[in-house]
């Protein structure tokens, strides 16, 4: 059984904010005016229009950018950032990031579209639609914060009780209870992905744990690397090899990060041992010290599943006479508390259980001939707001339908009928 115990130096605490000192009372009217002005701006149509247009422009630029930059990078730069600079030829256009725009839009919706909007029959639909959009935004925010997304790949008859990330990596120092490395219990010390993924080549991060006899220092991190043979020495050269930093791949899953890992004495001192860790290494690096055995490994972030899943059979059907896939089907067994439950996962029909959802997402080998053992890849998602968008969708639909049909269209038809009647009456009276 593994224990995941990550210890990282605590970030220096920021001093508590100074308590508000009662001073001479400011003229309340000024604050009131400021507050009223702020509320007026936050609830204004003008702000809503500006934010909608900004989001439109960001989405447009973010779409075009995908023609030469990977989706993950575009997401990070345009949609999850606070600020973005988009280059169009010689011009650079500064824009707020989508996260800022969406936050302000949510605020504008709450203040202007729900709280301050006139509450009457004619605005009921609009308020409902606004609430639906807020629900959608809130669901997306919770998903962004609290969901795990990864995959598990299984050959037929293979099983797993965990899944791994597509593109987030973590550094693991594993201590085996059995110093021969023959197996047995192990304790894992994890340097989490969030500490690694943003590192620059020049950054050094030290990783310490009272259970380890050394500190782990990570340096020369690069998000996409390949080993190269070098003559001579260098601070990032180990046994004549170093990791060359490459440009990021367009598809983030294809990036292979790497770093130099040095094991140093507690509190500093020279390196006792050094190694290069690389995303494509199949086996961990082993370090033995005082009769204890440690394994160091760079791997995709992993999460446990609350059940075990076994792939019994994978079936790929093609349209007759073509190589076009018609259906992918995985026949799996879900095992939980010793009880086996059979399930069928196919496109548009995932397996949902205990807050986790397994989707059919891939298969292989692509060049498989008859009799080849196939594997199936499942996307695995733990998303507490899995069903929120659908609910929000119907709430918005109901609101908009009420407003545009029951209020606006019916109102228009009534007015038109009244005008026609008035016209007829006028003609009669005239006659």
């Amino acid at each position: 059984m593994s224990e995941r115990a990550a210890t990282v130096p605590a970030a220096p605490r920021t001093p508590p904010a100074a308590a508000a000192v009662p001073g001479p009372r400011a003229p309340s009217s000024r604050w009131k005016a400021f507050g009223a002005g702020l509320v007026a701006v936050l609830s204004s149509y003008a702000l809503a229009i500006v934010l909608l247009l900004l989001l439109l422009v960001l989405t447009f630029f973010g779409t075009l950018e995908q023609t030469h930059t990977g989706l993950l990078e575009v997401q990070r730069r345009y949609f999850e950032s606070v600020f973005v600079i988009h280059d169009v030829g010689w011009f650079s256009i500064p824009l707020p990031g989508a996260s800022v725009v969406l936050t302000l839009l949510a605020l504008n919706l709450v203040v202007g579209g729900v709280v301050r909007i006139r509450k009457r029959r004619a605005t009921v639909g609009i308020i409902v639609a606004h609430l639906g959009i807020l629900l959608l935004l809130a669901g997306s925010f919770v998903e962004w914060l609290g969901s795990d997304k990864g995959h598990v790949t299984l050959f037929e008859q293979q099983s797993s009780a965990e899944f791994s990330s597509y593109h987030d990596w973590e550094l693991v120092v594993r201590e085996r209870a059995d110093a021969t490395g023959a197996g047995g219990a192990a304790t894992e010390h994890v340097l989490p992905s969030r500490r690694l993924m943003g590192l620059e080549r020049r950054d050094v991060v030290r990783f310490t744990s009272p259970r380890l006899p050394f500190d782990v220092e990570v340096s020369h991190w690069a998000a996409n690397t390949e080993p190269e043979r070098v003559n001579g020495r260098g601070e990032d050269v180990v046994d004549g090899w170093r990791l060359k930093a490459n440009d990021l791949e367009k598809e983030a899953e294809r990036n292979l990060p790497g770093a130099l890992v040095s094991l140093r004495g507690k509190g500093g001192g020279p390196a006792r041992a050094r190694t290069l860790v690389w995303g494509l290494h199949e086996l961990p690096w082993v370090h033995e010290e005082d009769g204890r055995r440690f394994e160091v490994e760079l791997r995709k972030v992993r999460w446990p599943l609350p059940f075990r899943v076994t792939l019994e059979r994978f079936v790929k059907e093609e349209h007759p006479g073509t190589r076009m896939p018609r259906r992918f089907s995985s026949y799996v067994v879900r095992t939980e508390d010793g009880v086996d439950v059979r399930a069928h996962i196919t496109m548009n029909a995932p397996l949902r259980h205990k807050g986790y959802t397994l989707y059919q997402s891939g298969w292989g080998p692509q060049d498989a001939g008859p009799g080849t053992r196939l594997f199936s890849t499942f996307s695995v998602v733990r998303n507490p707001t899995d069903r929120v968008p659908e609910i929000a969708c119907w709430v918005i639909f109901a609101g908009l339908l009420w407003h545009f049909v029951a209020v606006r269209l019916v109102g228009y038809l009534r007015r038109q009928a009244a005008t026609r009647d008035a016209g007829k009456r006028g003609k009669k009276e005239g006659a």
Binding site: S44, T63, Q66, S140, R326, E390, C393, L401, F404
Partner: protein, 679 residues
């Protein structure tokens, strides 16, 4: 009295002029409609000294059109296959023979398969630009851009084309230049032609049985036997032909033991060579009791079975014999028609028994009705009638215009319904489907708008909208040159989501597009000073623009979110910033911004119209452009023609907006300071 006469005379003149105008426009419309038949099998006059083309009889064309075949994973009538194969080669639905006779897809295919020596002189290969010909060393003096070439014209460059195309095949299609793409397309078209031209090569020459007495004894000792006659006795001959041919084993059949009588091995080897070229079209359905075998057989497959000693099922053998008879009698119309009927009847019987024929009969009906190529002409006729109504204020004319419009719409809808029934799918599952649906639904929406607000604006726009939509559909079909009812990839195999998400988003598109169409009336009308004295006209246009924007918004928002919900069900993520998702979001944002700006008083009628025109460009971006960026989950590959058309569309719409801004500037310049209303 005098006054009355003075009033009457001009109106009589107007009526008379109007009647002439009506006669002209109706005549033009009928002429346009009559021309729709041109694309079908025609028998035009020759134009040059080339040998006179002998057309296929109407009976032959009718029978051949109904032969069931399997291609792209689905069963369809030969007519459909022929039509899109010709589109893939010529990028048009009909072509000309060497002597200038215009022929349709089925006649062309029959020529290629049964009279290749004639077909190779048909100028039917479209070459997009001269540089493609330069690249393969072909002369093109006197030819224009997008001119057509015969197979014989291209033959000298065949090897060069093959070498270049195989080199370009190794590269991603997106990285190919238009010339390189043109080379790949031209090579593909030539290979298609060659494969079809070789389909019945196996039956063109008699089977040589000299030195194979055991086989010859079945034919009274004759040593040269026609292929049809030989195949008629295939049941008895199969065991004698069984060999361990290295090409045996198609569809997993075990090779037969090699107990071959003297001379039969040579006959089998010769037949095997013939079989190898007969793989261009799968038109032999396996027997009904072997329904688990979904792939139909080509004549070559069937011959390989025969060479392994497998006696072919009766109906399949009958089809093979019929093909051989057709190959032997292309110049004997009666014999050819009888053989074609046998081929069709046997194919229909087997495919019916397999439960695969239902869609074929419907598709034959659809092809005969041909609504999507005839309706544009009818929409044009409806528009001309409406236009005539501007000249003559006659109730009956308006009634006729309404009748033609609604009749054409019904015709259009029948086409969509037939496609749904054939595919057993909701109306939209491909980009082409969306054009058919949006143009039809747009006409309906405009007709409803006209019924609500009887100003003639929507009635004028409706036939134009329908015509433009079907024109785009036709151009796209010709550009792609593929089956417009293809099988769907695994992720799209869900009628629930196709019906829900795709329909909603398409209605969202159409709402916005109809709003944009009506907005053009406002912008261009104001710019050109049309109906200046009739503010009610513009108020009406503004009402309809607003109504259509609101209608579009409801469905665009719901469709966009439902797309995310579908993605969540299929891939486990609601929103992935995929270009198609982004496009849909951009439409929602644009429509929301316009409606909020209108509500907040920032935009008046003219401003809303201008913004709606811009919003139409965003819809074009989302609907078409993102699919051709070569990225994301909805990428349809690089299609040069689509991007060119989009560029023209953006330029035209940009010009409309520019004209609107100039008008706005001039208007505010004329008004005294402080008196100008918001746009």
């Amino acid at each position: 009295m005098t006054t009355r006469c003075a009033v009457r005379r001009p109106s009589a003149r107007v009526a008379s002029a109007g009647s002439v105008a009506v006669a002209i426009v109706v005549g033009l419309g009928l002429f346009a409609f009559a021309r729709t038949g041109d694309a079908k099998e025609g028998y035009g006059e020759g134009r040059s000294a080339a040998p006179a083309y002998v057309p296929w009889s109407a009976d032959v064309l009718d029978v051949a059109a109904r032969v069931p075949v399997q291609d792209g994973g689905r069963v369809m009538p030969l007519d459909t296959f022929a039509s899109y194969t010709l589109l893939g080669v010529a990028h048009r639905r009909s072509t000309k023979t060497a002597d200038g006779t215009r022929i349709g897809g089925t006649a062309w295919l029959l020529d290629v398969v049964f009279r290749p020596e004639v077909a190779r002189r048909h100028p039917c290969f479209q070459v997009e630009n001269d540089e493609t010909l330069d690249a393969v060393g072909l002369a093109h003096e006197g030819k224009k851009k997008r001119d057509l070439y015969a197979y014989d014209d291209l033959l000298p460059a065949k090897d060069r084309l093959r070498d270049l195309a195989s080199a370009y095949h190794k590269r991603p299609s997106k990285s190919l230049s238009p010339v390189e793409g043109g080379i790949v397309d031209l090579h593909r078209a030539m290979v298609t032609f060659e494969r079809l031209a070789a389909l019945v090569d196996f039956a063109r020459a008699p089977v040589d049985l000299s030195g194979a007495p055991a086989l010859a004894s079945h034919f009274g000792g004759r040593t040269a036997v026609g292929a049809a006659e030989f195949l008629e006795r295939s049941g008895a001959l199969a065991p004698l032909l069984a060999s361990d041919d290295p090409h045996a084993g198609v569809h997993g059949a075990p090779p037969a033991p090699a107990a071959v009588p003297p001379g039969a091995a040579r006959v089998a080897a010769a037949l095997s060579d013939r079989a190898r070229s007969a793989t261009g079209l799968a038109l032999l359905p396996p027997p009904a009791h072997l329904k688990s075998i979904e792939a139909w057989l080509t004549p070559g497959d069937a011959l390989f079975y025969l060479l392994q000693g497998v006696a072919l099922p009766e109906l399949m053998n009958a089809q093979l014999v019929a093909l051989a008879r057709m190959a032997a009698s292309p110049s004997d119309p009666r014999a050819f028609a009888a053989a074609a009927e046998d081929l069709r009847a046997a194919g229909e019987a087997t495919s019916r028994a397999r439960g695969e024929y239902g869609g074929v009969a419907l598709e034959v009906t659809l092809n005969r009705l041909d609504p999507f190529h005839r309706a544009p002409h009818l929409y044009l006729l409806a528009f001309l009638l409406v236009a005539a109504g501007w000249l003559v204020s006659a109730r009956w004319l308006r009634g006729v215009a309404w009748a033609v419009l609604l009749g054409t719409l019904a015709f259009h809808v029948v086409g969509i319904v037939l496609r749904c029934l054939i595919r057993e799918r909701p109306p939209m599952s491909t980009l082409y489907d969306t054009v058919l649906f949006i143009s039809g639904a747009g006409v309906l929406a405009l007709a409803v708008a006209e019924w609500l607000d009887r100003r003639g604006i929507a009635l004028t726009m409706a036939p134009l909208f329908g015509w433009l939509g079907l024109f785009v559909a036709g151009r796209y079909e010709a550009l792609r040159g593929e089956d417009t009812m293809p099988q769907l990839v695994a992720v799209l195999d869900t009628n629930y989501w196709l019906a829900l998400h795709v329909t909603c988003i398409a209605i969202g598109y159409l709402g916005g597009l109809v709003a944009a169409a009506i907005a053009h009336v406002t912008v261009l009308g104001r710019v050109l000073g049309f109906k200046r004295a009739d503010p009610g006209f513009y108020a009406s246009a503004a009402r309809m623009t607003y109504g259509m924007l609101a209608f579009g918004l409801v469905f665009a928002v719901v469709g966009t979110i439902l797309g995310g919900v579908w993605a969540n069900d299929s891939w486990g993520r609601f929103w992935g910033w995929d270009p198609k998702e982004n496009g849909a979001l951009m439409i929602c944002l644009a429509q929301l911004a316009i409606l909020h700006a209108r509500l907040g008083g920032y935009l008046k009628a003219f401003g809303v119209a201008m913004a709606s025109v811009a919003q139409g460009m965003i819809i074009a971006f989302s609907w078409w452009h993102v699919n051709h960026l070569g990225i994301g989950l909805h990428s349809y590959g690089h299609t040069q023609g689509v991007m060119t058309a989009l560029t023209i569309f953006y330029a035209v719409e940009g010009a409309v907006l520019l004209a609107g801004f100039v008008h706005l500037g001039l208007r505010s310049g004329r008004q005294p300071a402080g008196a100008g209303p918001a746009a």
